[in-house]
Chain length 125, copies 2
DNA sequence: TTAGGTGCAAAACCTTTGCCATCCC
DNA sequence: GGGATGGCAAAGGTTTTGCACCTAA
């Protein structure tokens, strides 16, 4: 991956914030430095930087909304090969919500966990 | 919320699968029952059903991709009022990945946790 | 020199919305 | 009957892509 002014500016923006910005926010920040950078370039570089491991895309977020008729508490497992989402019935016993609330001062209403890996079927193919 | 054929068909599809389908997949399934149902109706009803609590939208997924220059393991907290995402440094000590792997037979590479609630600032407003 | 990157604009996607006809209560 | 819902199509918002030009290595 070639080093360019655009890429460096994007990295600088990301390093300078803890706000987990969207592509569009990065775009508007980077334009202060490179006014004529294009949004396409921002998207391209964000993807490249993710692939090379220099930055992370918040892995909680998929592209599509997904829906579930199951309403009780449970976690999910997403297969990185086939993309399918499975239910996981394992539950955390300790009250991690309280622990985080004490530490941060936030009101913690609930949490979601997504495991990632390879499902049984995809292991055999 | 009024009871309609379309709504029931959508619920039937959701109850009949554990695959956490996307709106588009629901649409294609429901069309086997109601061939001329429109995609807009599927979206509208999915949203209504979420609001009324009859189904859940997988809360792991936001609408926008968000990026992070921080690469070490950490969890996230999303404020349900302002939408901002914060880092959480609390980490699980027990090896929940192994526990899930033993139970499911999946290869579990990592997990992500997202806490939800109200951040400090939004509590005072 | 040249493979890879950029800017621009168009296209591709996913989701929402406006409008009017239709249906449920 | 009257308000909620449906179908259709257009609009909106985000992300990707094709192409001609540029630039880092």
């Amino acid at each position: 991956m070639r080093k360019t002014r655009q890429k460096e500016a994007i990295m600088a923006v990301l390093r300078g914030t803890t706000s987990h910005p969207t592509a569009d926010w990065v775009y508007s920040e980077v334009r202060k430095e490179i006014p004529n950078i294009s949004l396409g370039t921002v998207y391209r570089n964000l993807r490249l930087l993710c692939q090379s491991g220099e930055i992370a895309e918040l892995a909680l977020c998929g592209n599509l909304s997904r829906f579930d008729a199951r309403l009780d508490d449970h976690y999910h497992f997403r297969c990185e090969k086939c993309g399918r989402v499975f239910d996981v019935d394992e539950l955390l016993t300790e009250d991690i919500n309280d622990r985080v609330a004490r530490k941060t001062g936030f009101v913690v209403e609930y949490h979601k966990i997504e495991f990632r890996g390879i499902c049984r079927e995809c292991q055999n193919s």
